[in-house]
């Protein structure tokens, strides 16, 4: 099968407008004849559901949380990029496009990324019109900051709660459509299967998380906006409920999964404090603007940081990268922290942390200045660790933060299943092998507000209005499959809890498919995951029944899918014999220890096709063509 | 007027009524305490008795007094309505609850404090207001002014009883705490919260809640002490 990205031909800057014009339209009066299912109500899902309902489609929106307002987009802190060039500092759509392609280490599709940069302008307008209280200058105009080492100030923000404010904006638009009767909202409802009729996505099977009722929902198109799969690592900065189940079960029906091994590790997280750790907390990257990263020079130096003299400290980022110092990109900073900890020079009780020291900054600028810049972050750190970062250095360690991989989609955001779309972090499309800071929010809203409303019409215009009744055999079969899996999970009654197994899976993934990977390690991991899978299906202990609120049962289904996805990530990481962005294979590095891409052989998207439980997945390649940017090597020396 | 009744039936409408009647009663208290200070004038009660007649016979004051009665009644009835609705909003309470960590004692006990004040009011009105209006009071003749009902002597007599004085003291405690929350609360309900003025309102409210009940309480106490002499 040849993967057709359906990217329009012609000059880059005309592709999207040409595509909009070429797309077939659904007559306004006919839109109400189409039903659309939206799974997930984060930035992508809520904005898509609201926008499609505004156009006149009948939308059914689903989320597993108790309210659409709680989706994990809410936790994004930093900001949202847009090429507004309000600061007169040389930003442009092309520059944002270029930065995103380069930041993604040349593993994303030019046409999609350019469109993302284009519609970034509209996003900010839309959000302001909804009442999103972005930060402003004294003159009343919008403020911007530079983020993640970008050369221009293009990041819009609402204190450290940008994701929250954007999500609440999308949620308000969604709420308005609920009132208008155009969106039917299903909170505390989880999608457990996709329903296919004649090769098209025509509905989903859900479980009501309170009553356990298995229900069928029929529609003319299905949108998966279910976020990333970082929780495959057990510990991540994702919310506890984030999962891959909807995407994975769609994958099993034929939606290809692209670049699953591309995961982003964020360098400044609060380290694990013990086995009880349930999740990790990110602290804004901006801390590295003033903090200095160091570890003791000697292995196993257990002295308190106060007692380690300057001469016995190793400011390893400053040493290795004299020009960028502590501000090297996320992946570089993360990897170097791992190396020093692997050498046995990590600090704290677990030895898995490095110091982020503000002593010099406080001496230089005064405590008040540092407090005004980072006060809330310092408070948060103190709240979690019980240590005062004004007096003793912070301890930080990298943590899984975002997954660039996801369901393969074409230019219309359609997966390889006709009628099944994937938006936001759930798809693979725009970030290549590494995502830039403040671009996740941008992509979620771009897909939901400004891409899908056009893209879906092009598909629906070719479809009949006929609705498939939910007693159709395809629905019945899917329901049966879901019920069977639930009964199986409940009947095993072994001795391992779901969390225990999830934790084991996470450890394997982190150790072998985390910040750096080797063929040997990945092969070992392959075997370990197979064992974990076998153990899960023979020894997991899930109590209770289906017909009640049963959080262990919910988790069990999700972990079952994470195990299978984990196995695919290992295969993908093995297949990609190069280092790029978040994927670092130790065998492929420059003499200086930096990521070494293999553009000749690996300038492609790896899209995996499911072949049944017992067989290996089939790899399909979408070759990436770069007509507008020149591939270069990143260097931060 | 359905829009108006509709508005007044809403939760905010009910609060508005509580605030407006409450503020009116605060104004009343101010007038009442100032007038009653005449009890301290060492003229054997003449000024006080003249004031008492003025208050019961001047038409404008009479209209105001009816508004006051109405305010008391509405304030009390609405407090019952609101309390009932609030109880309904939490049918099952907490096994452990530490309200003291997040709010003042008076703000949480406005119902009890108000009830104390109300019980006091009934006794107080029966003793003086009812007697003045409908009772048979001894009269006193002030040369050159005329004959007056001698309310002063009734008051003085009442304040010779220690338990009556005690009742006043308890009630004024209740009133003080009721005002400590009620004063600023009324402004908040009316939407009058501004960082420039609210601190001042709070200060005035605090002062009012101390000074007014203290003045009221001083009357029976002083007169009781005088009666001992």
């Amino acid at each position: 099968m040849i993967l057709d990205s359906k990217s329009p031909h012609g000059p880059l800057e005309e592709k999207w407008s040409k595509h909009i014009f070429d797309a077939k339209l659904v007559n306004p009066a006919n839109k109400r004849k189409f039903d659309v299912i939206v799974v997930g109500t984060g930035l992508a899902g809520a904005s898509a559901a609201a926008s499609l309902a505004e156009l006149g489609y009948n939308v059914k929106a689903f989320c597993f949380q108790d309210s659409p307002r709680r989706a994990h987009s809410i936790a994004a802190q930093g900001g949202i990029n847009a090429a507004k060039n309000y600061q007169n500092d040389g930003d442009s759509v092309f520059r944002l496009f270029y930065d995103t392609i380069k930041g993604g280490d040349y593993r994303s599709r030019e046409s999609n990324v350019y469109r993302l940069a284009e519609v970034s302008l509209n996003i900010i307008d839309q959000c302001v019109a909804q009442g999103v209280p972005f930060a402003r200058e004294y003159g009343g105009l919008l403020a911007n900051r530079s983020f993640g080492g970008a050369q221009v100030s293009r990041t819009f923000y609402a204190r450290g709660q940008t994701g929250q404010q954007l999500l609440l904006g999308a949620y308000s638009a969604l709420s308005r459509q609920v009132t208008n009767g155009k969106v039917q909202m299903f909170p505390r409802t989880e999608m457990l299967d996709l329903v296919m009729v004649d090769g098209h996505a025509r509905g989903i099977i859900t479980r009501n998380l309170i009553t356990g009722k298995i229900e069928s929902h029929s529609a003319h198109a299905v949108l998966l906006c279910t976020g990333g799969y970082g929780n495959v690592f057990y510990l991540s900065t994702n919310a506890m409920g984030c999962n891959t189940t909807a995407a994975w079960r769609a994958h099993k029906h034929g939606a290809f999964f692209a670049n699953p091994c591309f995961t982003q590790i964020h360098p400044t997280c609060i380290p694990v404090s013990g086995d009880h750790q349930s999740k990790l907390t990110l602290m804004s990257e901006s801390l590295r603007n003033d903090g200095r990263v160091w570890v003791p020079k000697e292995k196993g130096d257990k002295r308190s940081p106060k007692d380690i003299p300057e001469a016995e400290r190793d400011y390893f980022l400053e040493r290795r990268y004299p020009s960028f110092g502590n501000l090297v990109p996320r992946d570089v900073a993360s990897r170097n922290a791992k190396y020093v900890c692997d050498e046995g020079r990590g600090v704290g009780a677990t030895g898995l942390a490095v110091y982020l020291d503000f002593k010099d900054a406080i001496k230089r600028d005064g405590k008040d200045t540092i407090e005004s810049k980072y006060g809330n972050l310092f408070d948060m750190y103190k709240q979690i660790t019980g240590e005062n970062p004004y007096e003793t250095p912070m301890r930080i360690y990298p943590a899984v933060h975002y997954t660039m991989g996801g369901l393969w989609v074409d230019y219309n955001l359609m997966t390889t299943i006709p009628g099944l779309y994937s938006l936001g972090e759930c798809n693979f499309s725009d970030h290549g092998a590494n995502r830039l800071g403040a671009s996740a929010l941008m992509q979620g809203l771009a897909d939901g507000y400004f891409v899908i409303p056009y893209a879906i019409g092009d598909y629906l215009a070719t479809r009949s209005y006929d609705k498939i009744p939910t007693d159709h055999p395809s629905f019945k079969q899917s329901e049966e499959r879901v019920r069977d899996q639930i009964s199986k999970l409940l009947s095993i009654n072994g001795s391992s809890t779901v969390d225990q197994i999830h934790r084991e899976l996470g450890k394997v993934m982190w150790d072998y498919c985390g910040m750096s990977r080797t063929a040997e390690g990945l092969q070992q991991a392959r075997g370990k995951i197979k064992e974990i899978k076998e153990r899960f299906w023979s020894d997991v202990k899930v109590l209770g029944t289906n017909e009640e609120l049963n959080m262990s049962l919910e988790k069990a289904g999700r972990v079952a899918d994470f195990i299978e996805l984990g196995a695919l990530m290992i295969e993908d990481a093995l297949n990609r014999k190069e280092s790029c962005g978040g994927h670092f294979r130790e065998e492929y590095q420059t003499e200086e220890g930096e990521a070494l891409r293999d553009d000749e052989n690996h300038t492609y998207v790896a899209a995996w096709e499911y072949q049944g439980d017992e067989s290996n997945e089939t790899l399909h390649k979408e070759q990436l063509e770069f007509e507008n940017v020149k591939l270069t090597q990143r260097s931060y020396k | 007027m359905s829009w108006l009744t509709d508005a007044l039936k809403s939760s905010l409408g009910r609060k508005l009524i509580m605030a407006i009647t409450g503020l009116f009663l605060i104004l009343f208290l101010m007038g009442h305490v100032l007038g009653n200070l005449l009890l301290f004038k060492p003229d054997g009660g003449q000024a006080f008795n003249e004031y008492a007649r003025f208050m019961t016979t001047t038409p404008v004051i009479q209209v105001l007094s009816y508004v006051t009665y109405l305010s008391i009644i509405i304030h009390a009835i609405y407090s019952i309505l609101i309390t009932r609705k609030n109880k309904e909003a939490r049918p099952i309470g907490y096994a452990v609850n530490k309200g003291g960590e997040n709010s003042t004692w008076s703000s949480r006990n406005m119902g009890i404090l108000g009830t104390i004040v109300l019980i006091f009011l009934v006794i107080h009105l029966k003793s003086f207001w009812y007697e003045m209006r409908f009772g048979i009071l001894p009269t006193v003749i002030y040369p050159g002014v005329g004959e007056f009902k001698d309310l002063y002597s009734i008051v003085a007599a009442a304040f010779t009883q220690w338990w009556y004085v005690l009742l006043y003291l308890v009630a004024m405690f209740g009133l003080g705490y009721h005002l400590a929350h009620g004063f600023e609360s009324a402004f908040q309900t009316l939407g009058l919260n501004h960082k420039k003025y609210t601190p001042l309102i709070k200060k005035i409210g605090f002062g009012f809640a101390i000074i007014v009940p203290l003045l009221f309480a001083s009357m029976p106490v002083v007169m009781f002490i005088q009666s001992l002499a």
């Binding site: 108790d66 936790a75 302001v128 402003r136 909170p187 019980g386 809890t497 | 905010l12 703000s107 009316l190």
Partner: protein, 259 residues
């Protein structure tokens, strides 16, 4: 550290609940409160007992999902944080900790410590939005907004909808939640267009849900993880009274308010 936990257990909305006592041992002071409960649940599951159900998701204090009344306080003994940000070092070794669900008629218990807060969604649906559709909006910098206004709006908008205000209020009143949204949008020029109908509709819905009336105790604001100020309630009151006097909305005669 060892603790005795008294936890409200209730099988489902229809069942009668009661307190169960559990003891947990060897708890690290670095654990978060929810991790301590995770630990308890792991032990319960291994013993074949049903784990304690509680709502939680982001575990970093922003999603507003976690919701527990701990030792008589919404979100526990610390100010300005959610339950998920509470750590065991805030307790003393050997403490007895009582854990209850939010208590309010509009927040019925679903199971154990999980309550149904969909009333909040319905209040937002009644008017907590600006009626703009996607596309066709003016440039973001078209209308300047003074920083003080933008900041004040942001203060209000930082509400996470957790319901601690209702839980802590002795009247189970939702005024702080409602006012946060009314105030956020009333402050901004984009929200002013619909300010009157928004205030009227959201408060009508709030009353319909059966929340109690505000008596200005201030407990809501004191327990709010985002420290939302009572000034927003005052602003909502102004908006509402103003709307009632000046708007053209006259309710139908048949319409019965539960008010």
């Amino acid at each position: 550290m060892d603790f005795t936990l008294k936890i409200w257990r209730q099988k489902d909305a229809g069942s009668k609940g009661s307190f169960n006592t559990y003891s947990v041992k060897d708890i690290s002071s670095d654990m978060s409160f929810l991790e301590m409960l995770d630990e308890l649940n792991e032990d319960l599951i291994k013993d074949g007992e049903s784990p304690v159900h509680f709502d939680h998701d982001c575990r970093e204090g922003i999603c507003g999902t976690c919701s527990m009344y701990i030792n008589g306080r919404a979100h526990g003994p610390q100010k300005a944080i959610t339950t998920c940000q509470l750590h065991m070092r805030s307790f003393k070794d050997g403490d007895t900790i009582t854990i209850e669900p939010w208590r309010a008629k509009p927040f019925p218990v679903i199971r154990d410590l999980v309550v149904d807060r969909s009333a909040f969604d319905r209040i937002i649906q009644a008017g907590g939005y600006v009626s703009v559709s996607t596309g066709g909006v003016p440039d973001a910098n078209e209308i300047p907004i003074p920083t003080s206004i933008a900041n004040e709006a942001m203060d209000a908008a930082s509400c996470i909808g957790c319901g601690a205000c209702v839980a802590a209020c002795k009247n189970a009143s939702a005024m702080l939640f409602v006012s946060a949204k009314v105030s956020h949008l009333a402050l901004l020029p984009q929200g002013k267009v619909e300010a009157t109908s928004r205030a009227e509709n959201m408060i009508a819905q709030m009353d319909k849900e059966g929340f109690g009336l505000c008596t200005n105790t201030g407990a809501c604001s004191a327990e709010c993880p985002k420290e939302i100020s009572l000034t927003h309630i005052a602003r909502m009151n102004r908006e509402y009274f103003n709307a009632k006097q000046t708007s053209n909305n006259i309710p139908d005669k048949e319409e019965v308010h539960e008010g």
